[in-house]
C-alpha cells in the first residue's frame, strides 16, 4: 500500500519543473507569510524530499507542509505540466498516516479519524446534528434520501473548538488530542461549546433546503440521528485504509435505508460521494445528486438584484466542474463573479480551520475583501464551510437562504 502511494507520489512530483506558477494561486502561501513549504511548489519539493527520506530511511519533519494544503486544486489549473500539488499533499499525508515515515502524524488529525471511526461523526454528536429536523416529516418510503452529511451542523462547533485550543495552548491541545485519539470516548467529556447563533443560522439553512425540495415536489427520507458523517476528514487527512472501511459502513447504512438516490447538500459531501466513494466502495452504485439538481426554476420569481457568488472549490476545481448553483443563481439575480472565479476560484480557507486556524483567518479575510470589492451589497456562498468562514458581515448569505427569499409566493 505504501509502495503504491510512493509510486504515485513519484509520478506526480517528477512531472514538475519547479516553474512556480502554482505558487501564484496557492492561498496558503501568502497567509503563511510566504514560507515556501506552505505553498504549492514547496509542497511538491517536499514531496520529493519525503520520497527520498522514506527510501533512505531518513528523518524529515514535514507534516505541516502537507497538512496545511487546502486541497482546493487551484494549482492544477495553472500548472503547464499538469501537476496537482493538492494530490501531492494528499498522497504525502497518506504516506504519513500509513506510517511510511515516523514522527509526522498529527495528533489532531489522529483524533478526528479515531472519533469518527467510533461515532460516525468527528465530534461524536450525531444526535445533535439531527436537531434541526425536529417536527418535520419524512417519507420513509421514498427512494430519495436527503443526506446532510452533518456538514452544516458541525460548523457551529469549529470556532468553539479553536477558542478552546487557544485557551489551553498548543502543547496541551496536542496532548489532549493524542489522548482522545487513543480513547475516543473521551470526546464526550471534552468541553465542546456550540456557537448557538451559528447553529440557528445553519439550522435555518437546512430547513430552507428542505423547503426548496418540497416546493419542487420532492418527497424525501432523512436518517435523523442515524445519519453518518461521510468521512471527509478521514479521507482528506490521508487515512485511506480507515476510509475504505468507514466508507463501506456508510454505504451500507445508506443502502439499508432503501435509498435509490442520495440528495447531498454541500460540495464536500457531493464530491466525496460522487467521485471518491465509487473508488473505495465496491459496487457503490447509488445515484448521487446535489439538491439544486432537483429544484425547479419555475419555483422562483425572476430578478436582477446584483449579487456576488463565491464558487466553492469542490464544485469549480474538480475534474467535472459543477455549475448548477451558478446557473440557478443566474435565473434569479444578476450574478457578478470576483476576478478569481471558475477554474481560478479561490478557496475560503475553511479546510485548514481545525489544524491551522491562523491560516484560515487570513485566507478568509482576504477572500471576503475580494468578494466585497466585486459587489458589496450581497455575497452568496454555496457551501457551509465557505459560509462559516466568509460570514464576516450581514451581506453574506447561504445559497439556500437566498433562493428561499426568491420563491414565488
Amino acid at each position: 500500500m505504501i509502495s503504491d502511494l510512493l509510486e504515485e507520489l513519484d509520478s506526480e512530483v517528477s512531472k514538475c519543473i519547479s516553474c512556480g506558477f502554482c505558487e501564484s494561486v496557492c492561498p496558503t502561501l501568502p497567509a503563511a507569510g510566504y514560507d515556501l513549504w506552505k505553498g504549492a511548489r514547496g509542497r511538491v519539493i517536499m514531496g520529493r524530499e519525503l520520497l527520498s527520506s522514506v527510501q533512505n530511511h531518513g528523518s524529515l519533519n514535514v507534516s505541516d507542509s502537507f497538512y496545511s494544503c487546502l486541497d482546493c486544486h487551484a494549482c492544477l489549473y495553472v500548472c503547464p505540466a499538469g501537476v496537482n500539488a493538492g494530490k501531492v499533499s494528499h498522497l504525502s499525508k497518506s504516506v504519513i498516516a500509513g506510517n511510511g515515515i515516523s514522527g509526522n502524524r498529527n495528533p489532531l488529525a489522529e483524533m478526528m479519524a479515531s472519533v469518527t471511526m467510533r461515532y460516525m461523526n468527528p465530534l461524536g454528536i450525531r444526535e445533535k446534528c439531527a436537531e434541526w429536523f425536529q417536527g418535520m416529516e419524512v417519507d420513509t418510503g421514498s427512494g430519495d434520501l436527503l443526506y446532510t452529511g452533518n456538514m452544516y451542523q458541525l460548523m457551529a462547533y469549529t470556532h468553539g473548538m479553536n477558542r478552546l485550543r487557544e485557551k489551553i495552548g498548543k502543547g496541551m491541545s496536542r496532548r489532549m488530542s493524542s489522548l482522545i485519539s487513543r480513547f475516543p470516548w473521551l470526546i464526550k467529556l471534552a468541553p465542546m461549546k456550540r456557537d448557538e447563533t451559528a447553529s440557528r443560522r445553519m439550522d435555518q439553512s437546512l430547513s430552507n433546503i428542505a423547503l426548496l425540495l418540497r416546493k419542487s415536489g420532492i418527497s424525501f427520507n432523512y436518517l435523523g440521528k442515524e445519519e453518518p458523517y461521510p468521512g471527509t476528514f478521514i479521507y482528506d487527512l490521508g487515512y485511506l485504509n480507515l476510509f475504505r472501511e468507514y466508507a463501506g459502513k456508510v454505504a451500507k447504512i445508506l443502502r439499508d435505508s432503501g435509498a435509490k438516490r442520495i440528495i447531498t447538500i454541500d460540495p464536500h459531501t457531493y464530491d466525496l460521494l460522487k467521485n471518491v466513494y465509487p473508488e473505495y466502495v465496491e459496487d457503490f452504485g447509488i445515484e448521487v445528486v446535489h439538491y439544486l439538481d432537483l429544484i425547479e426554476g419555475s419555483a422562483f420569481k425572476g430578478g436582477n438584484e446584483n449579487i456576488t457568488y463565491h464558487e466553492p472549490c469542490h464544485f469549480s476545481l474538480r475534474e467535472q466542474a459543477y455549475n448548477r448553483p451558478l446557473e440557478t443563481l443566474r435565473s434569479v439575480a444578476s450574478v457578478n463573479l470576483p476576478p478569481r472565479s471558475g477554474r481560478r476560484t479561490k478557496c475560503c480557507g475553511g479546510p485548514d480551520e481545525l489544524l491551522f486556524p491562523e491560516l484560515t483567518h487570513k485566507i478568509s479575510q482576504n477572500r471576503y475583501e475580494e468578494l466585497q470589492e466585486t459587489t458589496p451589497q450581497k455575497i452568496v456562498t454555496a457551501c457551509p464551510i465557505c459560509f462559516s468562514n466568509l460570514n464576516k458581515g450581514p451581506e453574506v448569505i447561504e445559497i439556500g437562504d437566498y433562493l428561499v427569499s426568491k420563491l414565488k409566493n
Binding site: 514538475c16 501564484s24 510566504y34 511548489r41
Partner: protein, 464 residues
C-alpha cells in the same frame, strides 16, 4: 549559529532556520540544485533589509536575493551557506499615476498581479516574461526580463524609471525618479537592471506604464520548414508591421501542448507562428488581413485569424507554460529540460534557426525550439539526462555551439534569462569573441565599488 542569533535579533519571526523549511529555497525554475542556505530572511521593510545587509557585510555573510524563484539560469539559488533574502513580503502596488505614466511598486509584486491592478486604470506594464504569473517585479528587473511583448515594447530596461536599493553596506539609495526623462550623472538605474542581485537589493521600483491597447487580433500560421518561419517574420517587419507579439514553436513543443493543454494543430504542421497585431477597433481587421497576406507569401500549410479573446487566452497561456509542458515529452524520468536563450538580429533568424537545428542533429540531442521570433530570440530547450555523463557533455557542446551561432550572427549568448550560474563561461566567450575582454574588468570593478566584500550573489554572473 552566531549568525542565526545576530539575524534573529534583526528579523525576529521573519527568519526561517529549520532545515525542512529551508529546503524549497534551494530550487528555482532552472535545473540547478542549490545548497541548503544558512537561513531564509523574509524582511518586510526596507529598513529591515538594510539592517540585514549591514549585518551581513560586517560579518561577511554571503547573501542571495529571491523574487518569484522563476530564474532559468540558477541566479536565485543559494550556494555555500548563503543567507536567502526573500522579497516576497514586499507585495504591494504603492502608487499609480496614469497622468504621469508611472507606478510605484514593491519588488515582490507578481507581474500578472501588477497588470491586473493597472487594468483598473486602463493601463499596463508591458514587460511580459512567460513566467509573468509567478515572476516578480524585482526579479524581472534583476534579470532584465524580456518576454512575449518585447517585440513591440522592448525589455524591462525600457520601463524602469527609478529604484530604491539597499546596498551591501546597509545604505539605501534612490536612483532615477518619477520622470520619463532624466540626465543627471551616471544612469545607475540602468546599471542595476539586469545586475542579477550582485550590486544591491531592490526594495521599490518606479515603473513606466502604458495605456492598454484598444484592440488586438491573432494570426496563426503553420509551416513545414523553419526557414519559412524566420523569413515570414523578417518580411513582416520589413514591411513596417510591428507585431504585438510574434512567437514560434516547433513540432515537439506543439505536441507537448497537445498532451498537457489539449490544443490541436493542423496535420503536417512542423512549425507554428503566432502573430498578434494591436490596433484601433476600426483598423484591426484590415491590419490583420495585411499581416496574414505577408505570412501567406511563404507557403504556409494554413493560416487562421481570430479575435476571440477566450481562444487567444488559451493559446497565450499555453505558450507561456511551454517550458514546463515540454517535460511531458521526455524519454526518461532522469531527463530535465535545459533552456537555451540566445538572440540574433531578426534578419539573421532564418539562418540562425537552421543552424540551431543542425547543431541539435550534430550532438544527437532532442531539442525543442520556440521563442520570441520578432526580436530574434530563440529558446533551444534541450532534453538533458542529468544522470548520464556522456549526454551532459553533449548538452554542453550544444550550448557552446548554440552560443556561437548567436555571436556569429551579431547577437548575444543571453537574450533575456541572464547569466546566473549557467552562462558564466559563455559570457566570457562572448566578450572574447567580440574583442571585448576588458568588459569583464570593468564589470568586476563596478561590482567591487558596490560590494567590496563580495557578499552579493557570490559565484553568479562571473567569478570574482
Amino acid at each position: 549559529m552566531d549568525h542565526i542569533n545576530g539575524l534573529s535579533q534583526i528579523l525576529g519571526s521573519n527568519l526561517i532556520t529549520e532545515r525542512e523549511q529551508k529546503i524549497p529555497y534551494m530550487t528555482d525554475a532552472s535545473y540547478y540544485q542549490g545548497d541548503l542556505p544558512l537561513a531564509v530572511a523574509l524582511p518586510d521593510t526596507p529598513e529591515q533589509v538594510a539592517a540585514v545587509m549591514k549585518y551581513c557585510q560586517d560579518n561577511s555573510v554571503p547573501v542571495v536575493a529571491r523574487g518569484g524563484g522563476t530564474a532559468l539560469t540558477g541566479s536565485s539559488i543559494p550556494l555555500k551557506e548563503m543567507l536567502v533574502i526573500s522579497l516576497a513580503k514586499f507585495d504591494k502596488v504603492l502608487e499609480v499615476h496614469p497622468e504621469d505614466r508611472y507606478a510605484v511598486v514593491e519588488p515582490g509584486v507578481k507581474l500578472d498581479n501588477l497588470n491586473q491592478h493597472l487594468s483598473r486604470y486602463g493601463f499596463f506594464y508591458p514587460p511580459d516574461p512567460a513566467s509573468s504569473i509567478a515572476a516578480t517585479v524585482g526579479g524581472s528587473i534583476s534579470t532584465n526580463a524580456g518576454g512575449l511583448r518585447a517585440s513591440m515594447y522592448g525589455t524591462t530596461k525600457n520601463w524602469i524609471l527609478g529604484l530604491e536599493v539597499v546596498l551591501p553596506s546597509g545604505n539605501i539609495i534612490h536612483t532615477g525618479g518619477k520622470v520619463l526623462k532624466r540626465t543627471a550623472g551616471y544612469d545607475l538605474t540602468a546599471l542595476l537592471v539586469g545586475a542579477e542581485g550582485t550590486l544591491g537589493i531592490i526594495t521599490k521600483a518606479i515603473v513606466k506604464i502604458w495605456p492598454l491597447v484598444e484592440s488586438k487580433g491573432r494570426i496563426l500560421a503553420y509551416y513545414d520548414t523553419i526557414e519559412k518561419v524566420g523569413s515570414s517574420i523578417s518580411e513582416l517587419k520589413g514591411k513596417g508591421i510591428t507585431p504585438l507579439i510574434a512567437e514560434f514553436m516547433d513540432k515537439i513543443t506543439m505536441h507537448s501542448l497537445s498532451e498537457t493543454r489539449g490544443l490541436t494543430f493542423p496535420e503536417g504542421a512542423s512549425y507554428m507562428l503566432i502573430v498578434d497585431i494591436a490596433s484601433t477597433r476600426e483598423s484591426i481587421d484590415r491590419e490583420l488581413k495585411q499581416a496574414e497576406e505577408v505570412l501567406r507569401k511563404f507557403n504556409p500549410i494554413s493560416t487562421e485569424i481570430t479575435t476571440d479573446q477566450a481562444a487567444m487566452d488559451r493559446i497565450y497561456e499555453a505558450r507561456k507554460g511551454a517550458y514546463s509542458s515540454l517535460l511531458s515529452e521526455r524519454s526518461s524520468m532522469s531527463e530535465r529540460v535545459v533552456i537555451g536563450d540566445i538572440v540574433v538580429p531578426a534578419s539573421e533568424l532564418p539562418m540562425a534557426l537552421k543552424e540551431s537545428e543542425e547543431k541539435a542533429r550534430k550532438y544527437k540531442l532532442t531539442v525543442a525550439l520556440f521563442g520570441h521570433i520578432s526580436d530574434g530570440n530563440i529558446h533551444a530547450n534541450i532534453y538533458a539526462d542529468i544522470a548520464d555523463q556522456d549526454h551532459m557533455s553533449r548538452v554542453e557542446g550544444f550550448q557552446h555551439d548554440f552560443a556561437m551561432i548567436a555571436i556569429k550572427h551579431g547577437g548575444s549568448v543571453s537574450a533575456e534569462h541572464g547569466v546566473g550560474l549557467e552562462k558564466k563561461e559563455l559570457l566570457i566567450m562572448e566578450f572574447e569573441e567580440t574583442g571585448n575582454q576588458y568588459m569583464m574588468e570593468i564589470m568586476k570593478s563596478i561590482r567591487k565599488a558596490f560590494d567590496p566584500k563580495g557578499i552579493m550573489n557570490r559565484g553568479k554572473m562571473f567569478d570574482q
